[in-house]
Subunit: 723 residues, 2 copies
């Protein structure tokens, strides 16, 4: 008979418990109040809790500060790189305008763009594919409780930041705001854990926060800090986090999130003001700045606003009907690109898009004859004369020779008459198709700025057309159009309104913006879901919405639950546990419950008296502390990697210390909305269904609830991914 050393048993049990308690496809936002946890909490003094609270504040401050720094870094890097690029291309164009070799300029531009994009796409495609896109759907899922691997790792952050700098500098129709939100979230996940598994560096601090509940809270703060840095909208950031992530509102938590947001905005601001050589001037916060909208006290602009609102709201209803097709195209683009799986091809496609973007831009500049007089204030950083007369510049070139942020601002604030309607119309169309194609590329990039730009362009166009009939300030229509377009795509409501209000810096625009966003959401929802929701649905993740479908009252827990459930006894044979866990079909049914029905009591006492290696396992359990679980959080070895010998299989394990003795349960007659509410409000991972005698009859998991959905003909069941 082979001898097992206590050390071996201990190691085995370690790995084993990690598997049992942590391996899962969804996050647990309800603290598992097992014996170890309770013992620790009970040992802690009032002072101890106060220290924890202070630590939470410090972490939130750090998150805000670091997120602000990253935003600052991205902003400066993009500005520098794009500046060099535009300068080189402009020089080249000016050189060849006279000589007549403009195709060389085109090639230079296309090559520069492709080169930038290539670096970004290579990093994303070969190193960390999860860094593609804006990352907002992933963060939404994380906050919702769906576990998506590698979303909040340091490597993802590095690739994301590098990727977004490359793709924005490469002139793609993308923004850097979405990725900021993801970056903030990763930063938060890293800082709050006090270590980096990628760097193999453990600072041995903040160990208390190594669990899903706490991590989620910090990630909320990080996402808020990201929004705050991106748009200079700290309140908007808080509301974004709440709208996308929260279910249980907690005053103190929200206040901390707000703190992180504020610190982030002001860090960004402070460093940018130093960079721009005006230290201490904090009046233009955020990566994107809509500029100052004055609420003119003269009466007509306000009336115009009213007009804008009313007319646009109706106008939108028709425009958004079209948007249905656009959105379908968006989602098709996503679908299409899912079939390009080879990283090489993905990089090639990204480069192709970059080159095409340059070509389209060039063609539009070349063929447009929209010359505008050069302003005194040098608002344009790279005025391109091209074929225009001296003292004039090509206005189409302004739109393409600028980071999209600047273009948006120009559309909002340039005085009436700056843009030719035809130029604007062609630009809108061209940029729109570029944005659709770009979306879904394997680059890190956001969709906020292209949406704002497209919206601002057609809004301004609408304003110009309207101004032929009545007096209208096209800049305000641009703002309304931008809000409508963005709202129609992302379908955010409260948070987007507040972000727009904060970015415009004027509360009085709130009402029209709110009405437009409401209209956009209602009209949009009638046709198709929002972009992020489409994204989430395509990934077939069990995403829980706010409420159960309204017509689901006739469904009960009995019909919804997974059953039969494999139960363990308090003291269980190791062999059985390994068999159950290795059986993938059981795993899929949810996490096996450690049942403690009283009928088993005799059974257990018999088992305890049996010969097995209970003693040694007890020895090892004595040493197994919460700290061990924390050190391994959140990555665990798969059960298959643990070798279990025949003797070990005969060992008995006492699960008492590790089980949650008071899980939430519901009777089997409970209606679906009631189950849903409990599940959602408490952020559960699974809910035990019991019969009248408190016997376990089933288990409700996230997937069981997420598959019900309101379709055209009432309640529908979705097919969710099995992994």
């Amino acid at each position: 008979e082979e001898e097992i050393t206590p050390e071996e048993v201990k190691t085995f049990l370690h790995q084993f418990f990690f598997y049992i308690f942590f391996s899962k496809d969804s996050l647990d936002y309800d603290n598992s109040e097992n014996q170890l946890f309770l013992e620790e909490e009970r040992r802690m003094s009032h002072m101890g809790f106060r220290c924890l609270e202070i630590r939470r504040w410090v972490i939130c401050g750090l998150i805000g500060f670091l997120t602000g720094l990253i935003a600052c870094m991205i902003d400066i890097a993009v500005e520098k790189l794009a500046g060099y690029k535009y300068f080189a291309v402009k020089q080249n164009i000016e050189k060849y305008t006279e000589l007549g070799g403009l195709s060389i300029s085109l090639i230079l531009w296309a090559v520069l763009n492709s080169a930038f994009v290539m670096f970004g796409a290579i990093a994303v495609a070969f190193v960390e594919p999860i860094a593609a896109g804006s990352g907002i759907p992933q963060i939404k899922c994380f906050l919702n409780g769906v576990k998506i691997p590698r979303v909040v790792r340091l490597k993802t952050l590095v690739i994301k930041v590098f990727g977004v700098i490359c793709s924005v500098a490469g002139g793609l129709a993308v923004g850097k705001e979405g990725p900021m939100i993801h970056s903030g979230a990763v930063m938060a996940a890293g800082v709050s854990q006090g270590r980096s598994t990628s760097l193999k560096k453990d600072f041995k601090i903040f160990e208390y926060f190594r669990r899903d509940t706490e991590k989620r809270d910090f990630v909320s703060a990080g996402a808020a800090a990201g929004v705050s840095a991106a748009f200079g909208a700290p309140v908007g950031g808080v509301l974004f986090s709440l709208e996308e992530g929260a279910s249980f509102w907690n005053q103190l938590l929200t206040w901390r999130i707000f703190f992180a947001s504020m610190v982030s905005t002001f860090t960004l601001n402070f460093f940018l003001s130093i960079y721009h050589g005006k230290p201490g001037e904090l009046s233009s916060p955020g990566l994107i700045n809509f500029g100052r909208f004055d609420s003119d006290v003269s009466s007509h602009p306000i009336l115009t606003e009213k007009h804008a609102t009313i007319i646009l709201s109706f106008f939108l209803s028709s425009i958004l009907t079209q948007k249905r097709h656009w959105l379908l195209r968006f989602s098709h683009a996503v679908l299409c690109l899912r079939y390009i799986h080879r990283p090489c091809l993905q990089v090639m496609e990204a480069m192709l898009v970059a080159a095409v973007t340059a070509t389209v831009s060039f063609a539009m500049i070349y063929f447009s004859n929209d010359c505008q007089p050069l302003g005194q204030d040098k608002a344009e950083e790279y005025p391109l004369q091209l074929f225009c007369a001296d003292g004039e510049y090509n206005s189409m070139a302004t739109a393409f020779f600028n980071t999209p942020e600047r273009s948006v601002r120009s559309l909002f604030h340039n005085p009436p008459g700056t843009y030719n309607p035809v130029t604007l119309g062609v630009f809108t169309l061209a940029y729109f198709f570029l944005a659709v194609w770009t979306y879904g590329l394997t680059v890190s990039a956001g969709v906020f700025i292209p949406s704002l730009l497209i919206g601002a362009a057609w809004g301004r166009l609408f304003g110009i057309l309207l101004s032929f009939i009545i007096w209208a300030d096209p800049g305000k229509y641009a703002l309304i159009g931008a809000a409508a377009q963005l709202g129609g795509i992302v379908r955010m409501t409260l948070s987007l309104t507040v972000i727009m209000i904060e970015a415009t810096g004027n509360v009085t625009y709130g009402f029209p913006i709110m009405l437009v966003l409401m209209t956009a959401k209602i009209v949009g929802d009638y046709f198709i879901e929002g972009l992020y929701d489409i994204h989430i649905k395509l990934q077939s993740v069990p995403f829980l919405h706010w409420d159960a479908p309204p017509t689901s009252h006739w469904l009960t827990a009995r019909e919804v639950m997974s059953s039969p459930v494999t139960c363990f006894n308090r003291v269980e044979k190791v062999g059985r546990i390994v068999d159950v866990l290795s059986n993938t079909s059981t795993i899929h049914n949810g996490f096996p419950v450690v049942a403690h029905t009283s009928e088993n009591d005799e059974h257990i006492s018999v088992l305890i008296k049996s010969k097995t290696c209970l003693a040694s396992s007890r020895l090892s359990q004595r040493k197994l502390q919460l700290k061990d679980f924390r050190d391994a959080y959140p990555r665990f070895p798969p059960i298959q990697s643990i070798h279990v010998s025949q003797d070990e299989r005969e060992c008995m394990m006492d699960l008492t210390e590790f089980m949650n003795p008071t899980p939430y349960t519901v009777p089997q007659e409970t209606s679906l909305p009631r189950v849903f509410k409990l599940f959602r409000a408490l952020g559960l991972r699974h809910l035990v269904v019991v019969d009248n005698e408190n016997r376990v009859v089933g288990l409700v998991t996230r997937k069981d609830l997420a598959r019900y959905h309101v379709g055209k003909d009432g309640l529908e069941e979705l097919h969710l991914a099995q992994t």
Copy 2:
């Protein structure tokens, strides 16, 4: 044997069930999913739910509109009345300044003040005492789930509005903002129910919303609309509602609340702009308007802000130490006045305070020699020359001859040099003591404006003193001081920051304001609770905070729960039910559970077969529908008023249709924080504690949870009122 007609039985049962299901001291924010409810929900089509949703939006729009209208009415009434008063007094003073009979002016002023206040105090003291004060603590309790009688009735609203007009016009040191929040909430409760019980008018609409869950949501919207109208801060309003009331965050609900807030601000704005003769000018929202704070692009004011923040934050730590005593005084004032119970005396006291306020004001104007040159822009509406030279006016008179809102604005925006430091210091002290005395009077009045005014005065004073050392804009210090003072008194955090940002109309002030509010809260909490919390504690209501006390992990449901629990069977003898319900000690232990343990099944079937009048009760139950419950909601006859004959006592009642077959339960080993979380997140009224065999062993009610509290020496048990 006496014959019972089916009609009689029906009537009896009606009253009876109302008593069982609705009489309680706390509100139920968890839908009781009994058979009647489920049947209705299941009958409803998808279209039906959509119509409900539309109705909810319509109601929210109405709430916003009506709240805005009320705010507008209050504002205009106060302005008119105060205007007449000041005009009369000013005329009188000017007349007697030369003649030398200024004591007549004093008497005139005191009499006018007392007269106004008398009307207000009589209405409050004799007609509806609950309308006293700001009503914010009451609304906080309502949203928390504590039932306080008559808080959301129409009569309360009428008295509140009348009272606040009288007390503000009567020159008391009070504001009209707090009562606006209460008014909005009452409006919401009324509109959403589609009827007024006071007016005996039922519009037969919105009947679906006649239950606690729905009503609470609308009251949240009403409170938000009130804040929004008062401060022109729609986002702040939403956050106020969430901070004070919400526990479960729901995106759609929040969006509706925001809609109500927006509509309210813009209704108020629109009508006020018409009143002021500039229709369509919507740029100065809210009852109180801080005026436009520009974020000057020149660098020094921003540096000043920074200074202000840093210096004030430290300064505050010392100032707020003093505030402890002030707050103690506040609470003593409350305590003191609780002993003046006779309405006559209460009215007399209010009149006395009004007269004293006039006297103090007069004395301060009389003895101050602070003459300022009369501005060109006529910023002062009632400039009082008094003993000043021609072309000058008495600046102390400005402070007292204005509604407090205007005074706050002057302190924020008047150019440096407008105020003499000594004048300001004396004013601060005098106004402070007046405010303390006034708080707790039997008049409807808010504490926001006096706090802001005191804070602005000492903030400005501080700024002036500072400007002797470095350059400083005293107006900005006034703003910071106002935020600090208000924050120290009400201890709101996120919502107050956002309200202040929205009222100043400038996002860049957010950071300093947040820091100051944080400091104020931390320093304040160290000494004493916030004013509203003191108020709530004095009333001994079972108010649930956000989290369970951190050190309460060692308490379990077993120790916390009330037991034994009186249980009913599914089919129960009427006599027993009446006895149990009439027994006040049982009632106090919470609502008796309708147990449905399976052991009783045989027992029940035996009972069904027995001779009793089950048939007739069944007949009546057939007619008892959810509608009947709704019609009676929320006022029910006490059980004592129901006459039960001996025969009726022998009847059997089938409770199946009315009980909630799937109540939330917890095992008795559950820790207090876990019970608390479940209770708070779902807004429960009671939670059933069961043993391993699912037998009811106890009941956790709101009171059981609310009594634990963190004191100086760890966990403490509070004594809560028994009624």
